[in-house]
Protein backbone atom coordinates (compact mmCIF):
# COMPACT_ATOMS: atom_id res chain seq x y z
CA UNK A 1 0.00 0.00 0.00
CA UNK A 2 1.80 3.07 -1.32
CA UNK A 3 -0.04 5.49 0.93
CA UNK A 4 1.13 3.54 3.97
CA UNK A 5 4.72 3.67 2.77
CA UNK A 6 4.47 7.42 2.27
CA UNK A 7 3.12 7.87 5.78
CA UNK A 8 5.90 5.76 7.24
CA UNK A 9 8.51 7.66 5.24
CA UNK A 10 6.98 10.97 6.27
CA UNK A 11 7.06 9.88 9.93
CA UNK A 12 10.74 9.03 9.61
CA UNK A 13 11.44 12.54 8.34
CA UNK A 14 9.97 14.20 11.44
CA UNK A 15 12.05 15.33 14.39
CA UNK A 16 12.37 12.60 17.03
CA UNK A 17 10.17 14.58 19.44
CA UNK A 18 7.40 14.98 16.87
CA UNK A 19 7.60 11.37 15.78
CA UNK A 20 7.54 10.16 19.37
CA UNK A 21 4.48 12.15 20.33
CA UNK A 22 2.52 10.95 17.29
CA UNK A 23 3.55 7.35 17.93
CA UNK A 24 2.34 7.62 21.51
CA UNK A 25 -0.93 9.20 20.41
CA UNK A 26 -1.90 6.41 18.08
CA UNK A 27 -1.37 3.69 20.61
CA UNK A 28 -5.02 3.07 21.29
CA UNK A 29 -6.37 4.09 24.68
CA UNK A 30 -3.50 6.45 25.44
CA UNK A 31 -5.08 9.72 26.48
CA UNK A 32 -3.26 13.05 26.52
CA UNK A 33 -2.86 13.00 30.28
CA UNK A 34 -1.24 9.55 30.19
CA UNK A 35 1.13 10.62 27.44
CA UNK A 36 2.15 13.66 29.48
CA UNK A 37 2.83 11.39 32.45
CA UNK A 38 4.81 8.95 30.34
CA UNK A 39 6.98 11.68 28.88
CA UNK A 40 7.30 13.58 32.14
CA UNK A 41 6.13 16.76 30.38
CA UNK A 42 3.46 19.31 31.28
CA UNK A 43 0.12 18.50 29.65
CA UNK A 44 0.14 21.79 27.76
CA UNK A 45 3.50 20.97 26.22
CA UNK A 46 2.23 17.62 24.99
CA UNK A 47 -0.85 19.23 23.43
CA UNK A 48 1.19 21.90 21.67
CA UNK A 49 3.75 19.35 20.52
CA UNK A 50 1.06 17.07 19.11
CA UNK A 51 -0.41 19.97 17.16
CA UNK A 52 2.94 20.96 15.65
CA UNK A 53 3.74 17.30 14.96
CA UNK A 54 0.50 16.94 12.98
CA UNK A 55 1.33 20.08 11.01
CA UNK A 56 4.81 18.72 10.28
CA UNK A 57 3.34 15.38 9.21
CA UNK A 58 0.93 17.06 6.82
CA UNK A 59 3.80 19.01 5.26
CA UNK A 60 5.96 15.90 4.98
CA UNK A 61 3.09 14.03 3.34
CA UNK A 62 2.57 16.81 0.82
CA UNK A 63 6.27 16.74 0.00
CA UNK A 64 5.78 13.06 -0.83
CA UNK A 65 2.89 13.78 -3.13
CA UNK A 66 0.20 12.63 -0.71
CA UNK A 67 -2.75 14.97 -0.60
CA UNK A 68 -3.52 14.87 3.11
Amino acid sequence: MLEGLAVRDAMQSLSPAHRQVLELFYVRDRKQTEIAELLGLPLGTVKTRAYHALRALKLALQERGVDA
Binding site: V7, M11, Y26, V27, K47, L54, K58
Partner: protein, 231 residues
Protein backbone atom coordinates in the same frame (compact mmCIF):
# COMPACT_ATOMS: atom_id res chain seq x y z
CA UNK B 1 -13.41 36.36 13.02
CA UNK B 2 -11.76 36.84 16.41
CA UNK B 3 -8.03 37.19 16.73
CA UNK B 4 -6.70 33.62 16.81
CA UNK B 5 -3.04 33.47 17.66
CA UNK B 6 -2.99 29.79 18.62
CA UNK B 7 -5.49 27.00 17.99
CA UNK B 8 -7.48 25.47 20.83
CA UNK B 9 -5.05 23.31 22.84
CA UNK B 10 -7.13 20.15 22.38
CA UNK B 11 -7.26 20.36 18.59
CA UNK B 12 -4.60 17.71 17.94
CA UNK B 13 -5.93 15.45 20.69
CA UNK B 14 -9.37 15.68 19.11
CA UNK B 15 -8.09 14.74 15.67
CA UNK B 16 -6.01 11.88 17.09
CA UNK B 17 -8.84 10.53 19.22
CA UNK B 18 -7.01 11.16 22.48
CA UNK B 19 -9.67 13.18 24.30
CA UNK B 20 -12.03 11.75 26.88
CA UNK B 21 -15.72 12.23 26.05
CA UNK B 22 -16.13 15.37 28.18
CA UNK B 23 -13.05 17.00 26.60
CA UNK B 24 -14.25 16.06 23.11
CA UNK B 25 -17.70 17.51 23.77
CA UNK B 26 -16.16 20.73 25.10
CA UNK B 27 -13.93 20.99 22.05
CA UNK B 28 -16.89 20.44 19.71
CA UNK B 29 -18.75 23.27 21.47
CA UNK B 30 -15.70 25.47 20.93
CA UNK B 31 -15.61 24.49 17.25
CA UNK B 32 -19.16 25.70 16.69
CA UNK B 33 -18.10 29.22 17.55
CA UNK B 34 -14.55 29.25 16.18
CA UNK B 35 -14.09 29.53 12.46
CA UNK B 36 -10.29 29.40 12.73
CA UNK B 37 -10.33 26.08 14.56
CA UNK B 38 -12.84 24.65 12.08
CA UNK B 39 -10.42 25.55 9.31
CA UNK B 40 -7.55 23.93 11.24
CA UNK B 41 -9.56 20.75 11.73
CA UNK B 42 -10.42 20.62 8.05
CA UNK B 43 -6.78 21.15 7.13
CA UNK B 44 -5.26 18.58 9.49
CA UNK B 45 -7.82 15.82 9.68
CA UNK B 46 -6.58 14.21 6.48
CA UNK B 47 -3.10 13.76 7.97
CA UNK B 48 -4.56 12.37 11.22
CA UNK B 49 -6.71 9.90 9.29
CA UNK B 50 -3.81 8.79 7.11
CA UNK B 51 -1.73 8.19 10.21
CA UNK B 52 -4.50 6.10 11.70
CA UNK B 53 -4.95 4.12 8.49
CA UNK B 54 -1.26 3.53 7.86
CA UNK B 55 -0.49 2.52 11.42
CA UNK B 56 -3.68 1.15 12.89
CA UNK B 57 -3.57 0.39 16.59
CA UNK B 58 -2.41 -3.18 16.95
CA UNK B 59 -3.46 -5.80 19.39
CA UNK B 60 -0.89 -6.54 22.05
CA UNK B 61 -0.69 -10.00 23.66
CA UNK B 62 -2.48 -10.08 27.01
CA UNK B 63 -0.33 -8.92 29.87
CA UNK B 64 2.42 -7.42 27.74
CA UNK B 65 1.01 -3.90 27.78
CA UNK B 66 0.46 -4.11 31.54
CA UNK B 67 3.98 -5.39 32.11
CA UNK B 68 5.44 -2.68 29.92
CA UNK B 69 3.53 0.11 31.61
CA UNK B 70 4.45 -1.35 35.00
CA UNK B 71 8.08 -1.04 33.91
CA UNK B 72 7.39 2.57 32.95
CA UNK B 73 5.94 3.19 36.38
CA UNK B 74 8.95 1.68 38.11
CA UNK B 75 11.31 3.70 35.94
CA UNK B 76 9.34 6.88 36.57
CA UNK B 77 9.70 6.49 40.31
CA UNK B 78 13.45 5.88 40.08
CA UNK B 79 15.81 8.61 41.16
CA UNK B 80 18.89 9.84 39.32
CA UNK B 81 18.66 7.74 36.21
CA UNK B 82 14.89 8.08 36.22
CA UNK B 83 14.62 10.18 33.13
CA UNK B 84 16.77 7.93 30.96
CA UNK B 85 15.03 4.84 32.19
CA UNK B 86 11.72 6.48 31.53
CA UNK B 87 12.73 7.36 27.97
CA UNK B 88 13.91 3.80 27.44
CA UNK B 89 10.61 2.55 28.79
CA UNK B 90 8.71 4.90 26.47
CA UNK B 91 10.71 3.49 23.58
CA UNK B 92 9.72 0.02 24.73
CA UNK B 93 6.07 1.01 24.74
CA UNK B 94 6.37 2.21 21.17
CA UNK B 95 8.08 -1.01 20.13
CA UNK B 96 5.30 -2.97 21.83
CA UNK B 97 2.77 -0.84 20.01
CA UNK B 98 4.38 -1.32 16.61
CA UNK B 99 5.39 -4.93 16.84
CA UNK B 100 3.26 -6.37 19.60
CA UNK B 101 0.70 -7.52 17.09
CA UNK B 102 3.22 -9.80 15.47
CA UNK B 103 3.94 -11.74 18.62
CA UNK B 104 2.11 -15.00 18.89
CA UNK B 105 1.88 -16.89 22.12
CA UNK B 106 3.68 -20.19 22.17
CA UNK B 107 1.12 -21.73 24.50
CA UNK B 108 -2.42 -22.82 23.74
CA UNK B 109 -3.39 -24.32 20.40
CA UNK B 110 0.11 -23.83 19.02
CA UNK B 111 1.98 -25.09 22.06
CA UNK B 112 3.55 -27.68 19.84
CA UNK B 113 4.78 -25.66 16.95
CA UNK B 114 3.45 -26.36 13.52
CA UNK B 115 0.14 -27.72 14.69
CA UNK B 116 -2.82 -26.98 12.47
CA UNK B 117 -6.19 -25.74 13.69
CA UNK B 118 -9.29 -26.20 11.55
CA UNK B 119 -12.40 -24.09 12.09
CA UNK B 120 -15.83 -24.52 10.51
CA UNK B 121 -17.81 -21.33 9.94
CA UNK B 122 -21.57 -21.21 9.54
CA UNK B 123 -24.25 -18.56 9.15
CA UNK B 124 -25.41 -17.42 12.61
CA UNK B 125 -29.07 -17.53 11.58
CA UNK B 126 -28.72 -20.76 9.61
CA UNK B 127 -28.69 -20.99 5.82
CA UNK B 128 -26.55 -22.38 3.02
CA UNK B 129 -23.43 -20.25 3.62
CA UNK B 130 -20.45 -21.99 5.18
CA UNK B 131 -16.69 -21.91 5.20
CA UNK B 132 -13.78 -23.98 6.43
CA UNK B 133 -10.55 -22.40 7.61
CA UNK B 134 -7.23 -24.14 8.06
CA UNK B 135 -4.87 -22.15 10.28
CA UNK B 136 -1.15 -22.80 10.55
CA UNK B 137 1.49 -20.98 12.55
CA UNK B 138 4.43 -20.05 10.34
CA UNK B 139 7.27 -17.90 11.67
CA UNK B 140 5.10 -16.37 14.36
CA UNK B 141 2.25 -15.52 12.04
CA UNK B 142 -0.98 -17.27 11.24
CA UNK B 143 -1.39 -18.54 7.69
CA UNK B 144 -5.05 -19.09 6.91
CA UNK B 145 -6.50 -20.99 3.97
CA UNK B 146 -10.22 -20.57 3.77
CA UNK B 147 -12.84 -22.00 1.42
CA UNK B 148 -16.18 -20.22 1.34
CA UNK B 149 -19.33 -21.52 -0.33
CA UNK B 150 -23.02 -20.66 -0.53
CA UNK B 151 -22.42 -16.99 0.29
CA UNK B 152 -24.46 -14.35 -1.57
CA UNK B 153 -22.41 -12.20 -3.98
CA UNK B 154 -21.43 -9.03 -2.14
CA UNK B 155 -23.53 -6.04 -3.34
CA UNK B 156 -21.70 -3.20 -5.12
CA UNK B 157 -20.00 -0.89 -2.65
CA UNK B 158 -19.52 -3.63 -0.06
CA UNK B 159 -16.90 -6.23 0.76
CA UNK B 160 -16.74 -9.25 3.02
CA UNK B 161 -14.29 -8.96 5.90
CA UNK B 162 -12.71 -11.84 7.77
CA UNK B 163 -11.92 -11.46 11.50
CA UNK B 164 -10.27 -13.11 14.43
CA UNK B 165 -12.64 -12.47 17.33
CA UNK B 166 -11.95 -12.46 21.05
CA UNK B 167 -14.22 -13.05 24.03
CA UNK B 168 -16.87 -10.42 24.75
CA UNK B 169 -16.64 -8.67 21.37
CA UNK B 170 -19.49 -6.22 20.70
CA UNK B 171 -20.02 -3.36 18.27
CA UNK B 172 -19.54 -0.87 21.10
CA UNK B 173 -16.50 -2.57 22.63
CA UNK B 174 -14.81 -4.42 19.77
CA UNK B 175 -12.36 -7.16 20.63
CA UNK B 176 -11.33 -8.39 17.20
CA UNK B 177 -8.66 -8.01 14.55
CA UNK B 178 -9.24 -7.96 10.83
CA UNK B 179 -7.62 -10.73 8.81
CA UNK B 180 -8.50 -9.31 5.39
CA UNK B 181 -11.31 -8.69 2.94
CA UNK B 182 -12.68 -10.62 -0.01
CA UNK B 183 -15.44 -10.62 -2.58
CA UNK B 184 -17.82 -13.33 -3.70
CA UNK B 185 -18.92 -13.77 -7.31
CA UNK B 186 -22.12 -15.31 -8.69
CA UNK B 187 -21.06 -18.86 -7.85
CA UNK B 188 -21.16 -18.01 -4.12
CA UNK B 189 -17.59 -19.23 -3.63
CA UNK B 190 -14.27 -17.77 -2.56
CA UNK B 191 -10.84 -19.29 -1.92
CA UNK B 192 -8.71 -17.16 0.37
CA UNK B 193 -5.22 -17.16 1.66
CA UNK B 194 -4.79 -14.75 4.56
CA UNK B 195 -1.90 -13.90 6.85
CA UNK B 196 -2.51 -12.48 10.30
CA UNK B 197 -0.52 -11.44 13.34
CA UNK B 198 -3.44 -12.30 15.62
CA UNK B 199 -2.87 -14.34 18.76
CA UNK B 200 -5.23 -17.29 18.50
CA UNK B 201 -5.27 -17.68 22.29
CA UNK B 202 -6.73 -14.22 22.59
CA UNK B 203 -8.83 -14.27 19.41
CA UNK B 204 -9.91 -17.90 19.17
CA UNK B 205 -12.99 -17.43 16.98
CA UNK B 206 -13.23 -16.58 13.29
CA UNK B 207 -16.02 -14.61 11.70
CA UNK B 208 -17.02 -12.92 8.45
CA UNK B 209 -19.02 -9.68 8.19
CA UNK B 210 -20.37 -7.68 5.27
CA UNK B 211 -18.89 -4.18 5.38
CA UNK B 212 -19.34 -1.01 3.34
CA UNK B 213 -16.32 0.00 1.27
CA UNK B 214 -14.53 3.10 2.41
CA UNK B 215 -11.71 2.09 4.66
CA UNK B 216 -13.37 2.34 8.06
CA UNK B 217 -11.25 -0.18 10.01
CA UNK B 218 -13.97 -0.97 12.53
CA UNK B 219 -16.69 -3.54 12.13
CA UNK B 220 -20.07 -2.03 11.43
CA UNK B 221 -21.73 -4.65 9.26
CA UNK B 222 -23.72 -7.80 9.93
CA UNK B 223 -22.14 -11.13 10.82
CA UNK B 224 -22.59 -13.58 7.95
CA UNK B 225 -20.38 -16.43 9.18
CA UNK B 226 -19.12 -17.42 12.63
CA UNK B 227 -17.05 -20.29 13.99
CA UNK B 228 -16.78 -22.03 17.32
CA UNK B 229 -13.65 -21.04 19.28
CA UNK B 230 -10.47 -22.91 18.44
CA UNK B 231 -10.00 -25.70 20.97
Amino acid sequence: MPEHVAPHPDLAGYLLGALDPAEAAAFERHLEGCEACRAEVAELQGAAELLERAAPPVEVPPGLRERTFAAVERAATGERRGRWLRLAAVAAVVVVALFGGMLVSQSGPFGDRGRVVELALQAPEGGPASASARIRQVDGRLEVDMEVSGLAPNPPGTTYECWFVGVGDTLERPNRVSAGTFTVADDGRASLHLTSGADLDRFPTMGVTLEADGGDPRRSGDKVLVSQPAA
